[in-house]
């Protein structure tokens, strides 16, 4: 399913999503679908674990296409939003960092987003379970039960999460955001669920860099698994043993 507006009644039945229809008055119908976090997670395939391999040597320091694509896809960081608030208060789902090796002076550049840990501290600390990990390894926030306590932001070692600091309008249907809740990269779960690749990966390919490889870490024959086997790679903050699903090579 791609766009809720295109859904037919039959699609909803087929999708298995919890759907409830309430007739408020003649001609006024309230429809709710999506259901609980457990149901949403149930649609994820536990036989897979989605991950990214980021090749810093292919990433151009001047290119910001992955960030732009994420903003467009998920509806954050529009100018109108950024005008009102300080840069520290602005949303940040994915960011580009440029690093210089202190000993060698070599500079590299790479995107940093939610690292989709196997042992996510943000999920451990969340009091309500809004911060959750799907069966396919994607870590995301259920915005229906996030109370905005921000404990997950205290717990995340990667500064991958941001808090919606002010009211927002015109949100994309596939990614409703809400003032007072925490948000972060969800690996474009709605796209993955419909068989597409994350927006940042697609944008990086289009830009001709192909620095981000997306795939199933559990499938030994997937390109990402083969690449991980072939080249040395690292996770950020490896010492914490969180086993992130996002790996870096040539950093």
């Amino acid at each position: 399913m791609t766009n809720r507006a295109e859904l037919t009644r039959r699609d909803i039945m087929k999708s298995g999503a919890a759907a409830a229809t309430v007739t408020l008055a003649s001609g006024v119908t309230l429809m709710a679908f999506g259901g609980t976090a457990a149901e949403a997670s149930g649609r994820a395939d536990s036989g897979k674990r989605w991950g990214l391999l980021i090749d810093a040597s292919k990433c151009s320091p001047d290119c910001n296409d992955c960030v732009t694509a994420c903003k467009t896809e998920n509806g954050w960081g529009q100018d109108i939003e950024s005008d009102h608030i300080s840069s520290e208060q602005a949303p940040e789902w994915i960011r580009k960092v440029t690093l210089r090796d202190k000993s060698t002076g070599r500079t590299t550049s790479a995107p940093v987003m939610c690292q989709h840990c196997e042992e996510p501290p943000c999920v451990d600390v969340c009091p309500t379970g809004a911060s959750m990990k799907r069966a396919d390894g994607i870590v995301l926030v259920d915005k229906h039960i996030c109370i905005g306590c921000r404990y997950c932001m205290m717990a995340c070692p990667y500064k991958a999460r941001s808090f919606v600091h002010e009211p927002i309008t015109d949100q994309p249907e596939q990614n409703p955001r809400g003032k007072g809740t925490v948000e972060s990269c969800n690996l474009c779960a709605p796209r993955i669920d419909s068989g597409r690749i994350p927006a940042c990966v697609e944008a990086c390919e289009k830009a001709g860099h192909s620095a981000i490889l997306f795939g199933d870490l559990k499938d030994p024959d997937s390109p990402i698994s083969k690449a991980l086997k072939q080249y040395p790679n690292a996770a950020l903050r490896e010492d914490l043993e969180l086993n992130p699903g996002v790996r870096y090579t040539n950093l």
Binding site: P61, H84, I85, S86, E88, Q89, A90, E92, R95, K96, V97, T98, L99, R100, D101, K102, S103, T107, S109, V112, P121, V123, D124, V125, C126, P127, T128, G129, I145, C146, I147, G148, C149, R150, Y151, M153, M154, A155, C156, P157, Y158, K159, R161, S162, F163, V164, H165, E166, P167, G178, K179, G180, T181, V182, L236, R237, L240
Partner: protein
Amino acid sequence: MAMEQTIYRELKATPGVWQMAALLLAFLAAAAGAWFYMEHHGHAVTGMDNQIVWGLPHVFAIFLIVAASGALNVASIASVFGQTAYKPMARFSSLLAITLLVGGLAIVVLDLGRADRLIVAMTTYNFSSIFAWNVLLYNGFIAVVAVYLVMQMMRRLDYKWVRLAGLVAFLWRLALTTGTGSIFGWLVARPGYDAAIMAPLFIVMSFSFGLAMFILVTLALFKLNNRPFGDQLLVRMGRLLGIFAAAVLYFTVVQHLTNLYAAEHGGVERFILLEGGIYTLLFWGVQVIVGGLIPIALVFLNPSRSSTILAAILVVIGGFAQVYVIVIGGQAYPLEIFPGYEVLEGWHEGVVNPYTPSIWELMLGLGGVALALFAAGVGAKVLRVLPTNLSDSNVAAKG
């Protein structure tokens, strides 16, 4: 157990009491206004951001929550440890413990991004979260201490039941403060936290801050109603406060020595102890000297009524600074995400995160304090929790 001769009476509504109530209500109204403003505009109008996610309201809240469990000390000393001199104050100690906790929790709840979803926090639990456990520990504390208070007020009840309730409340408060300390102690990502000593440190902090708050609030209410409070009793409580303040210093020393020994924590220690600007000043100047060494010197070198009161005030100020350094200082120090690299471009990477609290956060925090004090006053007004006479001769006669 000897018959209890202490006479408890409701607070009399003197003009002073009304004035105090009006003042506290003004603070509550200001806090309500600040909250509506923040709720309407979002946290954009606060000093908080994506780097300093817990700001001044959390400092107030954690101070009050820590002090709440400590305010119960006086009752515990009477019921659990059998010190009869403290028994007449046990009822108010229980009441103040509840109201301080309520004040602190009110701030936490109103500072949530979605305060309207409190019901979600109360009904949806993730039991691997210490926050979720704390929701149960805090609610349970209010219930357990309320039962304990009621049992203390049932004159015909055999005292062994009060003692039992007091023991349960004492153990519960230890669990509660362990939970509060573990909010920070279990954060592996941040070098300023991630330490097992956080839980016991918070417990000794609660002993100290809670007793100081109890002394100040009780004396204020006694003064408003012209009830006598003996010098000897006060000096005795001051000595205990001095011991607690020394214990806080001891745990603080161990906390920092342990961190200094580990090379990986060298950076955050240098930040707090030497180069952290406001945090270094608050640590040495306010927490250690004003809130630790001076009150200890006051109560042991010059024990008197006035020095005890001053010591209690300084312990509160120092305690507030200590919580500020822990909560804000711990977040201001940058996360080390790329060890061995210098970050040329990024999202506030590797730099100290600035924080300037807004007036709204200050108003909300002060509102929590006002709520705690107002509720304690109302409780003392409608319940027989405050003794009429705590003069030394009266206390000695029953001792």
